[in-house]
């Protein structure tokens, strides 16, 4: 089991291999479709982003509202592929180091990840109640008008993930599925 604390740099990213189990601690940021659209529009217009993403991780999630006494509601990963159109700009221009989500990524995303030494982590889809327990603090830091799609700053402790695609482009889905195909 590998432990990663955010922010993390290129050499730490390169030490992670597809299939590695990791526990992530520190600050991570949430963003999904609508927040990605706004951030990449800001990048294209030469405007600053609402948060500094250099060496940081974006978690693709739109959490449920917190019940009284909860830090956050259920918070599992959403399908990453919907962010593919925006991701190369986030990696090459915003300095993003990692992403947490579920599902396949495009070749363009894999190429950009290789170029900048970034890592794609997988969290278990549909385990949002369990995953929320690893989130210690949550606050909206940008785009509150987007509701569940707002950007949250999350403090996580031992958030469990698997390295899905590493900095060399190795893909754990492709390798795993090949083994069981008949």
């Amino acid at each position: 089991m590998r432990r990663i604390t955010t922010p993390f740099d290129k050499s730490q990213a390169r030490s992670l291999i597809a299939g590695d189990r990791v526990l992530i601690s520190g600050v991570i940021y949430t963003a999904r479709d609508a927040a990605h659209k706004r951030m990449t529009e800001a990048i294209a217009a030469g405007q600053p982003l609402p948060v500094d993403l250099t060496d940081q991780i974006i978690y693709y999630v739109g959490p449920c509202p917190a019940k009284p006494g909860q830090v956050i509601g259920s918070a599992g990963p959403t399908t990453s592929g919907r962010m593919d159109a925006y991701t190369p700009a986030m990696l090459t221009q915003a300095g993003l180091r990692g992403m947490i989500g579920k599902g396949k990524r495009s070749q363009a995303v894999k190429d950009a990840m290789k170029d900048v030494a970034a890592v794609y982590f997988l969290a278990v889809g549909g385990a949002g109640a369990l995953l929320a327990q690893r989130i210690r603090k949550a606050e909206v830091v940008a785009y509150p008008d987007l509701g569940p799609e707002a950007v949250y700053r999350l403090e996580v402790e031992h958030f469990p993930a698997i390295v899905g695609i590493d900095t060399e482009g190795r893909d754990v889905y492709e390798e795993g599925q090949k083994r069981y195909k008949r």
Partner: protein
């Protein structure tokens, strides 16, 4: 004639929205327990174990199984002797959704327009499918559906010459293309026949059947088994990390169709196959 005040519908829908989001139906949970034993991949077994643990936590802590608490799809079976009183039925259902998603702390995931994409803020409107049946009862089924699996669904207008072989191949193609995206192990709903919209609706209704319960027609049952085997031979496995159990079940529904038609719809459902129902 039996009168049902629409306020009763509002109350029922509110409760059903919360119940569906937090409590995985017992047939789904049982099937997951079976899959945990049947899966050959170690990481696959571990993942299914986490999904069971997650579902148990959601039930006991009364929190959503998954953060994508979906669009509220509401199936109504309305007895033809029922008369709704006290207001609009659609508005009553929407009010139930509004209260359920607010009081249940469920995520609001509906945008008012597919292009301007502004969140309606209360998860309304519900999508309502109504079927008129004999009698004076009202059955309400609330089925929250998220996009992880819904986006991986497909419909194809095939031709009669494609036959069963064509249907099997189309389902396998759809599941393969979906891969890890729809949170496998999945349940596959297949609708064959009718016209375009019939096939789509049949595929969705097929997902409401208790998981793994076969179609009563032995020919359709055979087709379900054949598709399940083919789908599980893709090797996609739990969460797409490789394994034997890609699908927990395949449910096929059929309908009479045109001499020149073979519409086929494949509606994919994630492992969090949520629905709740009541009869009034």
């Amino acid at each position: 004639m039996r009168e049902i005040p629409v306020s009763k519908v509002t109350d029922a829908v509110e409760q059903l929205c919360i119940q569906a989001a937090n409590r995985l139906p017992s047939d789904v949970l049982e099937r997951l327990r079976w899959a945990k034993e049947a899966e050959e991949s170690e990481v696959g077994r571990e993942i299914i174990g986490l999904l069971i643990e997650n579902a148990e936590l959601a039930r006991s802590a009364e929190v959503p199984i998954c953060q994508d608490t979906g669009v509220a799809i509401v199936f109504l079976e309305v007895g033809q002797d029922v008369h709704f009183t006290g207001g609009s039925l659609q508005e009553a259902i929407d009010e139930g959704v509004r209260r359920g998603y607010s009081r249940g702390y469920l995520r609001k995931s509906v945008v008012r327009d597919p292009f301007d994409r502004k969140n309606t803020g209360d998860n309304t409107p519900a999508i309502v499918h109504t079927c008129i049946v004999p009698g004076d009862r009202l059955k309400i089924v609330v089925c929250p559906k998220g996009t992880g699996s819904e986006n991986m669904s497909q419909l194809r207008m095939m031709v009669p010459a494609d036959g069963k072989r064509g249907v099997v191949d189309f389902v396998v193609e759809t599941v393969s293309r979906a891969g890890s995206n729809p949170c496998p192990p999945i349940i596959v709903g297949v609708g064959v026949g009718g016209m375009m919209e019939t096939a789509a609706l049949l595929a969705k209704k097929a997902l409401l059947r208790p998981v793994g319960q076969h179609h009563p027609d032995p020919e359709v049952e055979k087709l379900e088994s054949e598709i399940l085997e083919a789908v599980n031979n893709t090797g996609i496995g739990p969460q797409g990390l490789g394994g034997r159990i890609t699908a927990l079940a395949v449910h096929v529904e059929t309908h009479p169709t045109h001499i020149g038609a073979l519409p086929v719809a494949v509606n994919i459902q994630c492992h969090a196959a949520r629905h709740a129902e009541i009869q009034l």
